[in-house]
Symmetry: C2
Subunit: 222 residues, 2 copies
DNA sequence: GTCAAACTAGACACTATTGTCTAAAACGTC
DNA sequence: GACGTTTTAGACAATAGTGTCTAGTTTGAC
């Protein structure tokens, strides 16, 4: 048993990579092993050697993409602006990083599409993703917003809610583009992020919810 | 040629209905004509009589759902609060109507899922939908927000942007639920709508954007 | 160079699906 | 009840895909 790790590993990666693309393009039923084999420059039998059957390959691909996506996600989360004198610019830059590297990249597209189309068929597979991915991002972002709130930079009651709304706002301008598999340009990313951050800051800046519950009359500039 | 409209029409509806469910559940490739026939309580040949082939049936189903969804959408849009002394409550109720009858119902689920999974394969089919559906809802909602803004109830610069953000905020709390095909409860709908409306009003209420212009250049649209 | 492991190419049985065809049955109208 | 239309059930060929098997080839470590 010589440790031919490099060769095997290269094939594995090649297979996973090709399978991800084909599954994403055609869905689970529409993807054929032959197609994946051709795209991976590998014989069909090799695929069956590594992964017993189509479903095994599929779950392996999903787990692989999930791991990469989560790693990237928390890597980006760690760049959340901790101290900043230009909150709008820093939050915008953060939002751009987040969208570009997590939400709009290859893996993000794959997960959005596959969760949507095959999520109901593989509940446990995607539920772990939901917990470790979008579930965690909410609370993690929430914790980061909590820091900003405690510093008085923002005035936030419900941190998790604010995090969800932040993400939703960032997606507001991108959804139409990303819906058909399109990739937004850098300008679109920038614009979407800035629009989102401006609205977010307007909603959560200034001393609110102290005297007056939530009705208007809030001075904006600090 | 007796006008047996009722019988034929009933079959057509039955087929379209069953096909929508099966296509939604299994995707285009995964759905089999036999399955649809069984679900529609109809022989397979009848399907081939009405729709020449699988693809014809699929486009017919999509167009059918699109029409229903658009009709419902504009029906709900017409209930946008025109005059209101309780803006938050009225906007919340509107958001609940919108989510319940358009975004989270059977047709909304179908369109979200199928646009995502088959959108790239049928560009023209879903592009018309994009223009007549979500494309129009943005501008239509934008026009309604413009009215509120001109009355001084809200202070909005970019109406279409505000509309997109309103929709995004409403979805913020629902995405996690609706992602796996789940249907939110009335309480969840209410809560999501209220959270969204409160944040939206906080961002767009009060005299803003006159003393401190937040950014010179926005409104980037390609 | 040897050797074992991995890879390849192709044939193979099996199943599922599409779309066609036919003859019988059901339906609705007159 | 007769008639035309629609529906049905089933057989049917054609195609495509899965997963297995085998025999031959490459690869990499020693």
């Amino acid at each position: 048993m010589g440790h031919t790790q490099r060769g095997q590993c290269a094939k594995r990666i090649s297979i996973l990579d090709a399978a991800a693309q084909v599954f994403c393009r055609e869905g689970f039923s529409g993807a054929s092993i032959d197609e994946i084999a051709v795209e991976a420059c590998v014989s069909r039998q090799t695929i069956y050697n590594h992964y017993r059957e189509k479903e095994t390959l599929f779950t392996a691909v999903v787990e692989d993409v999930m791991d990469r996506a989560n790693a990237m996600l928390f890597s980006i989360l760690s760049t959340f602006p901790d101290k900043s004198d230009h909150l709008e610019d820093d939050l915008t830059a953060f939002a751009v990083r987040l969208t570009k590297n997590c939400l709009c990249n290859q893996d993000g597209k794959f997960l959005r599409k596959l969760v949507q189309s095959e999520g109901e068929r593989y509940p446990h597979l995607f539920e772990t993703w939901r917990q470790h991915g979008p579930g965690k991002i909410g609370t993690a972002l929430g914790a980061l917003f909590a820091r900003l709130s405690h510093k008085g930079v923002l005035r936030i009651d419900d941190f998790d809610l604010a995090a969800r709304q932040f993400l939703a706002l960032v997606n507001a301008d991108l959804q139409m583009i990303t819906l058909f598999g399109g990739t937004p340009t850098d300008e679109q990313l920038e614009s979407a992020a800035r629009n989102a951050v401006q609205t977010f800051i307007r909603a959560y800046a200034g001393p609110a919810s102290e005297a007056a519950p939530r009705t208007p009359a809030l001075a904006v500039v600090s």
